[in-house]
């Protein structure tokens, strides 16, 4: 953590689905521009954490605040406006819209043109549309999607769709970016590219990144801190080195060795 500053502060977060404690006592403090990995076996509650952070689920206990603003009681779009953006485990793009329009939808929060100005096509509308177009193209440039800007999002190859989802999340101008299995279905060279992209995004947009991932090369390579979840509880946190040697983590992943 750099100089003890906290951007995102999650305390004692927990949720109970009709008796099933999916997550309990989840504590994490994320510093600005930190890259945190969230790993754990299937069903450990990783995506649940993301759904709680974005208020898709309402936590049964605990609190989340970003830069001191409590996000409890906010709607999902309210959380997005407060500065938490996410991608999805199974890609959720606006498939029948062009690539650039996908990004422009996410820019919506930063656009101010009222319904009245829009309908009458006042000069403010034209000015803002031009700015949105430029801004969207700039953002697409970051992950090399500019060439596809006017294609339908659904027609992009898989890897490009994953990248577009990240660009769309960035377009909401977040402070924290949540990536849910960004490397799923990617080959090693695409994963390597993704790793450099994740660092690039952090450095360029000054966001903190929390990522869920099963690809250990990516997690160990890019994360500064790793949190390991199992059965809804944090079983370890620490640097990649510490996590790799942690016996509890090894046990959770590989099971206990007999006779020891």
């Amino acid at each position: 953590m750099n100089n003890g500053e906290t951007l995102l502060n999650v305390r004692n977060l927990g949720i109970n689905f009709a008796g099933l404690q999916a997550l309990d006592d989840f504590n994490v403090q994320v510093a600005p521009e930190e890259i945190v990995g969230l790993i754990g076996p299937n069903g450990a509650g990783k995506t649940t954490v993301f759904n709680l952070l974005t208020n898709v689920y309402t936590p049964t206990k605990g609190s989340i605040d970003i830069e001191g603003n409590d996000t409890r009681g906010k709607s999902t779009h309210g959380v997005a406006q407060a500065g938490i953006a996410r991608t999805f485990q199974n890609i959720r793009l606006f498939k029948n819209m062009t690539v650039i329009d996908n990004v422009k939808v996410a820019l919506n929060n930063n656009l101010r043109c009222s319904m009245f100005e829009t309908l009458l096509r006042l000069p403010t509308y034209w000015k803002e549309e031009r700015e949105a177009e430029e801004r969207a193209l700039e953002l697409l440039d970051v992950l090399n999607l500019r060439a596809h800007a006017y294609d339908l999002a659904g027609s992009l190859p898989y890897g490009a769709q994953r990248r577009l989802e990240i660009v769309r999340a960035i377009a909401t101008n977040p402070k924290v970016l949540l990536l849910d299995e960004p490397a799923a279905g990617m080959n090693p060279s695409e994963t390597a590219e993704l790793m450099s992209n994740i660092r690039k995004i952090r450095d360029r947009f000054h966001v903190a990144i929390i990522l869920i991932e099963h690809d250990m090369n990516l997690v160990m390579g890019v994360c500064e801190r790793i949190i390991v979840l199992n059965y809804g509880l944090i079983i370890a946190t620490g640097s990649p080195e510490e996590i790799r040697k942690n016996p509890t983590v090894i046990e959770a992943y590989l099971g206990q060795q007999r006779g020891e």
């Binding site: 974005t54 898709v56 779009h77 793009l93 606006f94 919506n108 319904m115 829009t118 800007a149 909401t172």
Partner: protein, 345 residues
């Protein structure tokens, strides 16, 4: 890269579109005559343009919720009836001069329908898909039954009589043009993108910071507003309002136009609404078989083009012009290549 267009200057596109609208207007006046009489067509044939225009407004406004927002309401006739009665009552109970009273009554009809749109939209839009269809169907029927049961205001089952017959072909045309412009302007804006993103993926839309409930209700009331305008035109066209006119079948009729034209295609709704209004008249020659022919046509289109005649195609005059220009270029280019090949031999 950005698709290159023949005409890229926005202001120039606007001029071309304005000229096209004026040409269409001129043609209409030529056909029907400046007062609805004395044109190339007889009075009976001129009159068909009014229901045609009303149906276009209804279909395009329904397409906004069904095609662009991706929610399927079945109570569009309900909003039309609210607008029709509000506009008619305004005309009957006020004595402004006709030039003010008629347009004002249409706006009143639209606004009252929009208010109903918000009132119904707030609870109804919490539901999705089939549930939304059924609840809006219910609301449409409730509106009709209420109108039927307050005879002191609405005339009840006897109908509301004595509405000035102010709707002309020209005023309908003006309303159609304004509706098309406003709905197009809405779709091609940040608000429109937000609306379409809800159709595409509501969860992703919400996660991208779009207040989905706000946009759903706004779109719903926007759509109701234009249905109300269409209702006002209808009231001043027929002169007598009968609640039975605004039943469930009327809503389905409008929906058929939207589906046939293509959900999410404005030009599709315009063409389908126009064609389906004229078709029953054209088919009068087949006398009792005409509804069979009508239904068969619908089935044929749905079998061979399930996404509707136009799918999601969006028509723009300049876009079409550049497409044609490109096609011609391609053709001439191919010819040139052919010549080179021969020269090579």
């Amino acid at each position: 890269m950005k698709p290159t267009r023949l005409i890229d200057k926005t202001w120039f596109r606007y001029i071309i579109n304005t000229i096209a609208v004026l040409l269409a207007f001129g043609l209409l006046v030529l056909l029907t005559g400046p007062t609805g009489e004395g044109g190339l067509l007889n009075k009976y044939m001129s009159q068909i343009f009014i229901p045609m225009g009303i149906n276009i407004i209804l279909a395009v406004s329904l397409n906004l919720t069904a095609g662009f927002l991706g929610q399927l309401p079945l109570g569009h006739a309900g909003f039309m009836s609210v607008g029709a009665y509000a506009a008619a009552l305004f005309s009957i109970h006020t004595d402004f001069p006709k030039a003010i009273s008629f347009p004002l009554s249409l706006i009143v009809g639209g606004i009252v329908a929009a208010i109903f749109g918000i009132l119904i939209g707030l609870p109804a839009l919490r539901l999705k898909g089939d549930y939304l269809a059924i609840i809006t169907l219910g609301f449409g029927e409730i509106i009709r039954v209420i109108i039927l049961n307050i005879p002191k205001i609405t005339g009840g089952a006897y109908g509301l009589k004595g509405i000035p017959k102010d709707t002309t072909v020209i005023s309908t045309f003006v309303c159609v043009v304004i509706t098309l412009f406003l709905i197009h302007a809405l779709i091609k804006s940040r608000h429109g993108r937000a609306i379409i993103s809800i159709r595409e993926d509501e969860i992703a839309s919400e996660a991208s910071g779009i207040p989905t409930t706000y946009y759903k209700v706004t779109t719903f009331s926007f759509s109701a507003f234009f249905a109300g305008i269409a209702g006002g035109l209808y009231a001043h066209f027929i002169g007598v309002l009968d609640p039975a006119e605004f039943g469930f079948m009327r809503s389905v009729e409008i929906l058929v136009m939207v589906v046939l034209g293509g959900m999410g295609s404005i030009i599709g709704s315009v063409v389908a609404a126009g064609a389906l209004t004229v078709l029953p008249e054209v088919l009068r020659g087949f006398s009792e078989y005409r509804m069979v022919v009508y239904s068969l046509l619908l089935i044929v289109v749905m079998v061979f083009k399930p996404s509707g005649l136009f799918g999601r195609y969006d028509f723009s005059l300049c876009g079409a012009a550049s497409d044609i220009a490109k096609a011609i270029k391609k053709l001439t280019h191919r010819n040139k290549l052919g010549i080179h090949e021969e020269a090579g031999k």
